[in-house]
Amino acid sequence: TPVQAESGLRCEPGETYIMNVMVSGHPYWVPVYQGFKQAAEAFGCETIFSGTPDYDITKQIASFEQDMVKQPAGILVHPMQSDPFIEPINRAIENGTEIVTFAADSPKSNRTAYITSDNLAEAKFAADEIVKQIGESGQYAVLENPGQSNHDLRVTALIDYMEANYPEMKLVGRQATNQDSTAAYRATASILQANPDLGAIWIPEAGSAEGAVAAILEAKSDVLVMHADITPVTLEHIKAGNIHMALNPNQGMQGFMGFLATFMASHSDVFDPFNDYKVSGYNPVQIPFVDNGFAVITKANADSFDLNTYMEGRDPS
């Protein structure tokens, strides 16, 4: 519309975008939300960080429905499980709230876009790096977290990739640690015991990595540690050389692109694409999937990934 063209892509006063997550106290969301907020500020929009502090699907759905009560322009949601969110997401869209998912998807819903890091790519990269470091024949182990889909993917993808490409690499240990550093300590200690020739270990998240490193240091073993995500503690271990490398999804981009996708979905009237949106009822800016990429963290660049430094002077919520 002409009005829109005049003001450009800007929010009207009070136009609000919400980012909804589960386990909302988790630090993973912090840089994501910063990206979300920075993008929003650029367009003059307001943002709310919402969700449930609990690991509880029912509570997250309740909080999502409460978000809807506020009639926001859009919600960037991390659905804890995909199918339970189909109905709430579709209902929100019917009510005029645009929905984009991030880090976890609800593919059967009508959400307009899905922003994520590519867990398969991470796993592939990690596998290649392990082989590069310890050679094509050796032993490796993984810690895992059955039931958490992205962690699951990181582990199973790596194992599959190894089997397909490096048949000489032998998986000798596979333990569930559920992000608990004490459990990771115990599991790693046992794996080290049973496999003195262990060459590398792949850990899909940082909490377990902390415990695993403690066990490896205590056993004075020189196993190559690779893990995904970071915490200040694993960062220190990377700097100290105890951890070889961490792969960290580009959280800031996830939030930034997440906002853009939501905002665009809500301002889709600026765009009249060459497709069937008018008859299909879909949003014109439908984006199947955006890869926000991941960072490779080593001794060399570790300093740039200190979240505490990054957050200095910023408001977390």
């Binding site: 909302s24 106290g25 709310i48 960080f49 919402s50 969700g51 449930t52 502090p53 609990d54 690991y55 509880d56 699907i57 029912t58 509570k59 759905i61 309740a62 909080s63 429905e65 409460q66 809807m68 009560v69 506020k70 499980q81 995909s82 199918d83 339970p84 189909i86 109905e87 059967k108 059955p146 039931g147 958490q148 889909s149 699951d152 977390p316 919520s317």
Partner: protein, 330 residues
């Protein structure tokens, strides 16, 4: 002989009803919840909207069915830590069977039967072997969670293909009211009535109050405990099936930590952890209180870093006030 000290003269009927209300165990809790709601309706214009109320009730309705089972079990002197895993297992078994091509209704019945079996298994260890509920249900909590993983390989089972009439249980509505809420209300009212009024459930109170005295009154206390343990798991099975219909999926990690929530609701509502007392109505009020507090914090956009602190403090304050009111009333 002084026709002994019947000091309470039969008041006029109206007065009597009011007095009775004031003497009820649950009155304090109702007042606290009302106070919270009134405060919230000023603090947020959205609080009293139908959508918000619906969301709040939906957030605890299915868990409320588990609360019913837990309350009865607590009254009989038991406790069950496995409710979360067993609920998840109910979803997983039914979902898995459905994917094997079994009719969803049949699958659900099999799944509920399996959960009932788990309850009977626990009941066996408690009443025959003589172990404590706590440790038996802790072990079963771990086992059932393991079974969930085993059935699913740790991945949620998508059940989009469930027939619409089955999904209707969890997603349908009669008029404006979701069927889930209606089922919940029926379960609550039925069990509340039975627990207050039927001779069968009265035995649960006797058993929990003093197991030995109950045995000396001819009550087969072990049978009672066996049955309450089984009932609690069976209701978890029912809850699991409703969740499955609602979410259209079965999640192996569902219900982590549910046990504390459910026990807390029952205890806030006046159930004693030593057995012998408690009401379904009170326990549901406890669940309502917990849910209203969580929902309010979410609605008010309270910073996540403060939410837990506020939530815990409100819980503590509410329980203290309720306790104080009850003490005074006596």
């Amino acid at each position: 002989m002084e026709k002994s000290i019947n000091l309470a003269p039969p008041a006029t009927q109206g007065m009597g009803a009011l007095k009775k209300l004031l003497r009820m165990r649950e009155t304090g809790l109702i007042l606290i919840i009302l106070a919270l709601c009134i405060g919230m309706s000023f603090a947020s214009p959205y609080f009293l909207t139908w959508v918000n109320i619906r969301a709040m009730v939906m957030a605890f309705a299915v868990e409320g069915i588990v609360v019913v089972g837990m309350t009865i079990l607590l009254i009989s002197g038991g406790i069950d830590l496995s409710v979360g895993s067993v609920t998840a297992l109910a979803m997983v078994i039914a979902g898995w069977l459905f994917l094997q091509g079994i009719d969803p209704w049949v699958a659900s019945l099999i799944s509920i039967a399996a959960c009932t079996g788990i309850g009977a298994f626990m009941g066996f260890f408690v009443t025959r072997v003589g172990l404590h509920h706590f440790i038996v249900s802790l072990a079963v909590m771990v086992i059932a969670r393991g079974a969930c993983l085993l059935f699913t390989g740790g991945r949620p089972i998508g059940l989009f293909t469930l027939p619409a009439e089955f999904k209707f249980i969890g997603q349908g509505a009669i008029g404006p009211i979701p069927l889930v809420i209606i089922i919940f209300l029926i379960v609550v009212l039925a069990f509340d009535f039975m627990l207050r009024r039927t001779t069968a459930f009265r035995k649960v109170f006797y058993t929990g109050s003093n197991e030995k005295a109950a045995a000396y009154s001819g009550i087969r206390t072990k049978k009672v405990i066996f049955l309450t343990t089984t009932l609690c798991s069976a209701l978890c099975g029912v809850a699991g099936i409703i969740y499955m219909a609602r979410f259209g999926s079965a999640q192996p990690t569902f219900g982590l930590g549910m046990e504390l929530n459910v026990i807390a609701a029952a205890v806030i509502g006046g159930a004693s952890l030593n057995g012998g007392s408690g009401t379904i109505f009170g326990a549901i009020l406890g669940a309502v209180l917990l849910s209203v507090v969580s929902s309010s914090l979410a609605l008010l956009d309270v910073s996540v870093y403060w939410q837990d602190i506020i939530r815990g403090s409100i819980l503590l304050a509410a329980v203290s006030i309720d306790h104080y009111l009850n003490k005074r009333r006596r």
